[in-house]
Symmetry: C2
Subunit: 187 residues, 2 copies
DNA sequence: TCGCACATGTAACGTGTTACATGATTCA
DNA sequence: TGAATCATGTAACACGTTACATGTGCGA
């Protein structure tokens, strides 16, 4: 059932929740704890963000919920992805990535990759890292060009700040090139 | 005149604008072009963000404006920081940085450092990079610990995504340690 | 004449932040 | 008795995103 009735796409937070629910069905409270303890893309664990997001996912029919009333201080509402939710999530995972994604939304790309296990398709992960490495290399070169364009009288700190960005992207590119080998031997 | 009447602190975008205005008085249109062309922390150049932000800064009396009516297709509104604006901006630059800033707001820290030339105080820049290097080292260790805690049956992709973060923070730490030498020879 | 660069702005909308509300159970 | 943990939620607010509105002058 794929008649996406002009619904706007899920938020980053919504995707993150959807991904965690693929790991195992959980309650809002559980999910909050995950965000609070792990360094998961540093999302907020505030109830004012999580609970409304879960409700949105439910009205979009991407997740379903059932009350776990048995043995609990207060009844827990446990969410799990619906088939539609799974499909939408997988579609997000395999979306084409653009240069713009690398520059503006690198965090989101990492979030996507972290959930690539849902696909269980090494070829897809390889492809992802391959194009990511390519785009990172390109973007790094772009930043380096910008650095060379810097007027000599420009303040040191600005130049150094740009260097920091370059170094970080270089590190990410190295990581991507190295990591893709986990998914394909040759080439 | 420092009676900050419980005003909430400026946004990241507002700080960025304030910083650019310290470089030279500019109009909203000029500022938009800066955001559009340079890789300045990848802020948005949308008019719906810039113009309201400038207006907010003006009502807070952190910037002043004057109309440049002479020889222009349409009159330009040129903004420049007020003494109060300068003070607030400098205060932001020299704010103490915490572990949380490193984990959640690294971009903002880089933005701050990029504008450190406003202070014209090498000692302050050294101090900034020194503590930044320290905090980055600490946070990297924390991530490494988290990585070791990873259960062996956890998916490869999740572990690799964490590795990406670690590598990026490591690169940033190296950068900070190396760059601080620009501001102090010994030690 | 068509469209683009200049230049400023507003309106609707959604979402995250912060703070608050509720209420049961366990432990000191 | 009081505090902490479990567990869900709402309300006000501010901000950014997107899209639209407006109008001039210049070059093809």
């Amino acid at each position: 059932m794929f008649h996406t009735m002009n619904q706007r796409p899920p938020t980053r937070l919504e995707y993150a929740l959807l991904g965690l629910l693929h790991q195992q069905p959980q309650s809002g409270y559980d999910l909050r704890k995950v965000f609070a303890t792990t360094a998961l893309g540093n999302y907020s664990s505030s109830p004012g963000a999580i609970y409304p997001a879960l409700k949105r996912l439910e009205t979009k029919a991407l997740v379903g919920s059932e009350i776990d009333d048995a043995r609990a201080l207060r009844p827990r509402k446990v969410y799990r992805p619906t088939p539609d939710g799974s499909a939408v999530f997988r579609a997000w995972l395999v979306q084409d990535i653009s240069t713009d994604d690398v520059a503006r939304g690198f965090d989101e790309l990492m979030l996507r990759f972290a959930f690539h296990w849902v696909l269980d398709a090494p070829a897809a992960s390889y492809e992802f890292l391959h194009t990511l490495a390519d785009l990172l290399g390109r973007y790094t070169k772009e930043l380096e060009a910008q650095r060379r364009m810097f007027p000599p009288e420009a303040p040191v700190q600005s130049r150094l700040a740009l260097d920091a960005g370059i170094e970080q992207y270089r590190a990410a590119a190295r990581w991507a090139r190295k990591s893709r080998k986990h998914f394909k031997e040759d080439t």
